[in-house]
């Protein structure tokens, strides 16, 4: 992080004491979960977007809500915000019932939608002023601090912003009233790596202040650095809720080898942990779970000239859970569906 950003971070740290709407003075700040969801279901005609979702998120944690596009993440979030009405089930946010108490919930949360749209004719500062006035409890100096920290240009019209700059305005409006709960739907869109780092620091500061973050993403790498726990949703069903370190342990990872000469196509057959091996002459792509030692031992029989490690993608993590014998109950139907999927197979290109 640059000195400037670090200085700004320190500056914001000093301002993290609770606000009038903050946790410390909130009547129900302790003893209740930040989010409690019971049997939440959303049906659109004959399509079930979210089905019987149960979830509890404690105060002061960063919860990653993971799932591929169309899995039901945004639908769940929009039900929490009372933008969509559930077909059945219920939810409480900060101890308040979604629906009857949504006005108060909105007062105490910050939100950025997945596909952020702002008023194109307004400048960034006009946009933030509008939302700040709607809220009424915004410390404008804190808004400027956030803008400085995110290096947001507030002077341009929204129509002239890049995706990243527009996203920064969205993030500022979500953070600016120091909400007790941040609901962030794909918040990293368009942010460069430095800004992502700053953003993650901001999330950690929120957690350190006892506030809560509900962070939705389709990318594991986006949440694994900051989240304490993750929930994975797939086809509207919550597949699993797990601590991040446990999730990583179960994840399938990939290694790409380049050898100095063509290798046998069955060289990884029978190697413990190998899920899939794609071998094409001097190149081999290995998907494995568990310890990497056995894979490396099998590979190093030949001369390796290059080795590249890739992050596990989400679908593979889903598959890992489907295959796992100790998967939670909701996995049962999916496990049956994927039982015929190849296990330690061999694929030759």
């Amino acid at each position: 992080m640059s000195d400037e950003v670090e200085a700004a971070a320190t500056s914001v740290d000093r301002d993290r004491e609770p606000t009038p709407s903050g946790p410390a003075e909130s009547p129900d700040a302790s003893g209740t979960a930040a989010i409690e969801i019971v049997g939440l279901t959303k049906q659109f005609k004959d399509f079930t977007a979210v089905e019987e979702l149960d979830l509890e998120i404690g105060r002061g944690e960063i919860f990653g809500f993971l799932g591929p596009n169309g899995a039901g993440k945004s639908t769940t979030i929009r039900m929490l915000l009372d933008q969509l009405r559930p077909s059945s089930g219920s939810a409480r946010v900060l101890g308040l019932a979604v629906g009857p108490d949504s006005l108060e919930i909105h007062r105490r949360i910050g939100y950025i939608p997945g596909d952020l749209a702002l008023y194109p004719k307004l400048t960034g500062i006009q946009t933030l002023r509008y939302f700040a006035r709607l809220r009424g409890n915004v410390d404008w100096s804190y808004v400027l601090e956030l803008a400085e920290r995110l290096e947001a240009d507030l002077g341009k019209k929204v129509a002239d912003y890049s995706t990243g700059n527009r996203q920064k305005i969205g993030l500022i409006q979500a953070f600016m009233h120091r909400p007790e709960l941040l609901i962030l739907d794909e918040p990293n869109a368009g942010l460069d790596p430095l800004m992502q780092q700053t953003f993650h620091e901001m999330l950690r500061e929120v957690r350190a202040a006892g506030r809560t973050v509900f962070l939705s993403s389709h990318t594991l790498s986006e949440v694994e650095r900051v989240a304490d726990r993750v929930g994975i949703i797939r086809r509207g069903k919550l597949v699993v809720v797990e601590r991040v370190d446990e999730l990583k342990r179960k994840a399938i990872r990939r290694l790409d080898f380049e050898f100095d000469q063509p290798v046998p196509i069955d060289m990884f057959e029978g190697v413990a942990g190998v899920r899939d091996a794609e071998i094409d002459g001097v190149h081999a792509g290995i998907a494995y779970e568990g310890s990497v030692n056995d894979v490396l031992q099998a590979a190093l029989v030949h001369e390796v000239v290059n080795l590249h490690s890739r992050d596990a993608d989400l679908e593979e993590i889903f598959l890992a859970f489907y295959r796992s014998d100790d998967s939670p109950a909701p996995l049962s139907p999916a496990r049956t569906a994927t039982a015929s999927a190849p296990r330690a197979g061999r694929h030759v290109r």
Binding site: R78, L81, Q83, L84, R85, L103, E104, H106, R107, I109, Y111, I112, P113, D115, L116, A117, L118, Y119, K121, Y130, F131, R133, L134, R135, G136, G170, Q173
Partner: protein
């Protein structure tokens, strides 16, 4: 919060409001200037027409044919079209553009949003009609027309209420469905059908049926000649209230788009 939404909406709509109001004012001024030189020729032309046809084209209006055209055709169509387009986009437009996602997460209820937006549209239409009235009044003084400021205010008031009625229908359909195209199509279709009903049925001797059309309540009492007709304005108020209540009920029951 209501005031903030109202202020934001009014600011967003300031340019089209000013442009439309200014255009109507300037057009009206020059229209009356031209009618002064062509007045006698136009009057003799409309005098030879059947009475119903003369009424249809506005030839029997105080101030003559041009004033009639402006008050029975151009200004109402401009105001109604603006009201429908703006009304359809007020709530449902934010859903289509995606801005409703952030807006509806603020501490403001859907109903407050809808009411604030409806008030901003009312203000906008009043400003447009005010500019139109101003242009007309100045032109009437300059060109020595028989029209008075009071008569013009009465006519303008009826036009504002006409536009508000259709705007309220568009706003309600948009609030109920979240679909601005459906809202403008529904209200626009109603406006066209009811205009034709109001204009054509009297030609066929079916004046009573023309009372079903909102246009009858804008022009039927001849406000330029007879002043404001409170019963006709009441009919508009009833349409506006029913549409708004329907919109307020419906918007709270559905899923928001965007």
């Amino acid at each position: 919060m209501f005031a903030e939404v109202l202020r934001h909406e009014s600011r967003q709509r300031a340019v089209p409001t000013g442009v439309l109001g200014g255009t109507l004012a300037v057009f009206t001024f020059f229209g009356l200037a031209v009618s002064g030189s062509l007045g006698s020729a136009l009057d003799s032309l409309t005098a030879s027409m059947p009475e119903a046809l003369t009424a249809f084209i506005g030839g029997d209006s105080p101030g003559g044919y041009v004033v009639g055209e402006i008050f029975t055709l151009m200004a109402p169509i401009a105001l109604v079209a603006y009201g429908i387009i703006a009304g359809a986009g007020l709530f449902a437009g934010e859903e289509r553009e995606g801005t409703m996602a952030v807006l509806s997460a603020q501490p403001v209820t859907r109903r407050s949003l809808l009411l604030a937006k409806a008030c901003s549209l009312l203000l906008s239409l009043v400003v447009i009609a005010g500019l139109f009235w101003g242009g007309m009044t100045v032109a009437a003084l300059v060109f020595d027309s028989e029209l008075t400021a009071g008569a013009l205010a009465a006519g303008s008031t009826h036009l504002v209420m006409l536009a508000l009625a259709f705007a309220a229908v568009a706003l309600a359909v948009g609030a109920a469905t979240g679909r601005p195209e459906l809202a403008s199509g529904t209200a626009g279709g109603l406006a066209v059908i009811s205009y034709l009903t109001s204009a054509m049925l009297p030609l066929a001797g079916l004046e009573q049926w023309a009372r079903l059309s909102p246009w009858h309540y804008a022009l039927g009492s001849d406000p330029l000649r007879n002043g404001i007709d409170l019963s006709h304005l009441g009919a508009f108020a009833a349409i506006i209230v029913v549409a708004l209540v329907a919109g307020l009920v419906a918007v709270n029951r559905r899923d928001l788009k965007g």
